[in-house]
Amino acid sequence: MIVMAAQGDVLFRRVDAVPAGAVLQPRTERVVVAHSETGHHHALTAPGIDWYTSPDPLVGYLSLADPTEVRHERPWDTHAPLCLAPGVWEVRRQREYTPEGFRRVED
């Protein structure tokens, strides 16, 4: 069973539960877990997805009732879809170092 996978600059890690402090977002049929400034988001489209943000802006949580595919929405140089099993997944955005600390990888 897959417990950790990456789709480009987004990492998915299976965890036992959504931690305290995470905030459930209003439910929508399409959840963008990583916005791209050039428009190629990483997104899940299915009913029954719970998406939580956390105090760390680079970390969120997905609670999935069913197997759900994460799609990279770009027609070229496309990262292949990932199928996440039902359960709770930690979603981590990639970062890079700056002299001031770090910044999210922008693409």
């Binding site: 897959i2 417990v3 950790m4 996978a5 990456a6 789709q7 480009g8 600059d9 990492l11 890690r13 400034e37 050039t38 428009g39 760390d56 680079l58 970390v59 990279h72 027609p75 070229w76 140089d77 496309t78 990262h79 292949a80 879809p81 990932l82 981590r92 990639q94 970062r95 890079e96 170092y97 700056t98 002299p99 910044r103 990888v105 922008e106 693409d107």
Partner: protein
């Protein structure tokens, strides 16, 4: 007429014909057919129940249109009530043909046509070109509004420039509707959109005028259909404005036209990782490494984990991870100067430690 519930093999066999025809029309670099475009403007005003004023102003690039149409509109309104009035004009013109077509084609079978025809033309025209034009104009407007001409431009242009209709760059909708009309024999009132989308670029409807844009003079793509030119603009309009792109990613003009003048350190430090990768490819990794003296601190052996590099940048010791992503492309990411190994550096980019990253099973 009888409801169409399935498509015959003969009807499906015509999909490629539509895709090829409308991809070519969407990417056409012929000068605008102004007379036909004007017929389409008029018909769409009339379909929306609006008075046709008969005033069409032609410009040569969407950038000029973004400024000129917005400023003209604001000037005509003397700074007042523009949004309410012209927002309504834009919505009405944009919606009139759509509503009529939608009324004519409420049938599930048309979804299959949409995937096969509209979807395929979209990939070639919309995704490759339309989005690049929209993005480039948006950036140009934003930069101007954020820059030296803020006071002059800000209030006038704002978001008004987005009230355009796409012309040839929105042709995938026409491809879909004409297939239904011509291949399936369903009467679909798409004619006004055919007239505009097959004859001009962006156009901007206003109560008192239409501003219309010529088609590009040249569009260059790579073998995969992505916008690309290694020697000049990937899209060039007749007034000289253009969009530079490297295999689908928009990049600054000087990276393409004067790469020798670009500081090679930018291939390591440019803020956007995707654009940074392009610059490294434009300059060539060998040249970047040669011009920015770099030593290898650690090579993991797994390209997906990467190679940890060190160099001096602006008098500071800096470390970078050169790593291959799931699509096979190579990126360079800045990592902490005390990162001990490529694995530890790669794990740090995800906020994990090296041991945790070893659990990675799939990278796409």
């Amino acid at each position: 007429m009888a409801k169409i519930t399935t498509l015959t093999d003969a009807q499906r066999a015509r999909f490629p014909e539509w895709v090829a025809r409308y991809t070519a029309r969407g990417l056409s670099c012929e000068p605008a057919d102004r007379a036909r475009a004007a017929r389409g403007f008029r018909a769409q005003y009339e379909a929306a129940g609006l008075h046709w004023h008969g005033r069409v102003v032609w410009v040569q690039s969407p950038l000029v249109m973004a400024y000129a149409a917005s400023i003209a509109s604001r000037w005509l309104a003397r700074g007042a009530v523009h949004d309410a009035v012209n927002g309504a004009v834009y919505g009405a013109v944009n919606g009139a043909v759509h509503d009529a077509v939608d009324d004519a084609v409420r049938d599930a079978v048309y979804g299959a046509v949409g995937v096969a025809v509209n979807g395929a033309v979209s990939v070639a025209v919309d995704d490759a070109v339309r989005d690049a034009v929209y993005g480039a104009v948006g950036v140009a407007v934003r930069d101007a509004v954020d820059g030296a001409v803020r006071d002059a431009v800000d209030g006038a242009v704002g978001n008004l420039w987005r009230h355009y209709l796409g012309g040839a760059l929105w042709i995938s909708y026409v491809a879909w509707a004409t297939y239904i009309r011509d291949a399936l024999g369903v009467p679909v009132p798409i004619g006004p959109r055919e007239d505009t989308d097959e004859s001009c670029g962006w156009w901007w409807p206003h109560r008192d005028f239409v501003m219309a844009c010529d088609r590009p003079a040249a569009i260059h793509r790579d073998d995969a259909g992505r916008l690309h030119s290694a020697s000049g603009p990937a899209i060039l309009w007749r007034d000289g404005w253009g969009i530079h792109a490297w295999h689908g990613t928009r990049v600054p003009r000087e990276w393409i036209e004067a790469p020798d003048a670009v500081a090679p350190t930018l291939a390591l430090t440019h803020p956007n990782a995707e654009e940074r990768r392009c610059l490294a490819e434009i300059l060539g990794w060998g040249r970047v490494i040669a011009l920015v003296p770099t030593r290898t601190v650690d090579d993991d052996g797994d390209p997906a984990i990467g190679t940890l590099l060190e160099c001096e940048l602006h008098g500071e010791r800096s470390r970078f991870l050169r790593v291959r992503c799931g699509t096979g492309r190579e990126f360079v990411l800045a990592v902490p100067p005390d990162a001990p190994t490529a694995l530890a550096a790669n794990a740090w980019t995800y906020g994990l430690d090296a041991g945790e990253l070893r659990a990675m099973q799939v990278r796409t």
